[in-house]
Symmetry: C2
Subunit: 126 residues, 2 copies
DNA sequence: CTAGAACCTGACGCCGACGTCAGAGGCAAG
DNA sequence: CTTGCCTCTGACGTCGGCGTCAGGTTCTAG
């Protein structure tokens, strides 16, 4: 498929796809006129890339790990880097969970204050 | 305390602290000579700010929500924004958990391939 | 054949959370 | 007094993941 279709199907911009190719995250056949042609599998691959991006991995890291993630093909060194990233994601999740808890208790408390018709500040001074 | 001490105690750079003040995330008394002086409570506050940053909130959002988070003082509108952010964090956690699972199974699979002394690629071609 | 959509390659713009450098005070110790 | 560290205010630099514009080619529908 051409780049426009891949863009709509994977939900990312055409510009982003070109960027991914530039970063060697994605490869494409070229038609004689120079247009990119992607296989069906590119849709999944782009979604995977997005997933890794949102997990905080950089292009550099992703390009190193992708062969391993896609093919299951790894060296001990790659395995290490994968474990490092997984652990980072673990810490990130724990951190977010703590923040979520904090936000939640703030929401609960503030909602309670609203319901009882007074803020903590007012409660303190009055 | 002065800015250097706050920096070492909260684990962020002096530059970052000045930036936080500039963004109205932090306020400081000034000595006659212009040096900032922070109360003890600033340490916790900086850690809270860091927590919210790493949860993906922007300075703009944090500055709006901080009074609420710190004082429990909220309007219905603020409560909405808090809930929006909490839900975003929820989705982020779910997303990360999925990615973590993916990474983990890749690691397991690749480790298995290494242990059995062959890659998937080799397994496919031989 | 032609209009318009889709595609191409540069190349500059952007944004946020700082890093970093410059140049100039301030402050405790010997 | 001076040495040396801390602090100050600008102000420009950075980096990553694109957005966006320019100027040109290519594909497709009528």
């Amino acid at each position: 498929m051409r780049i426009g279709e891949l863009a709509t199907r994977s939900g990312v911009s055409v510009r982003a796809l070109r960027y991914y190719e530039e970063q060697h995250l994605l490869s494409a056949e070229r038609s004689p006129s120079g247009q990119r042609h992607f296989p069906e599998s590119a849709v999944d691959r782009v979604e995977l890339i997005q997933r890794l991006y949102t997990a905080g991995l950089s292009s550099r890291t992703i390009v190193d790990l992708l062969p391993c993630v896609v093919d299951g093909d790894a060296t001990p060194e790659l395995l290490d880097r994968l474990a490092v990233e997984r652990d980072r994601v673990d810490r990130q999740i724990a951190d977010l969970a703590a923040t979520r808890g904090r936000l939640d208790s703030v929401i609960t408390g503030a909602a309670e204050n609203l319901r009882t018709g007074r803020s903590c500040r007012e409660a303190a001074t009055g």
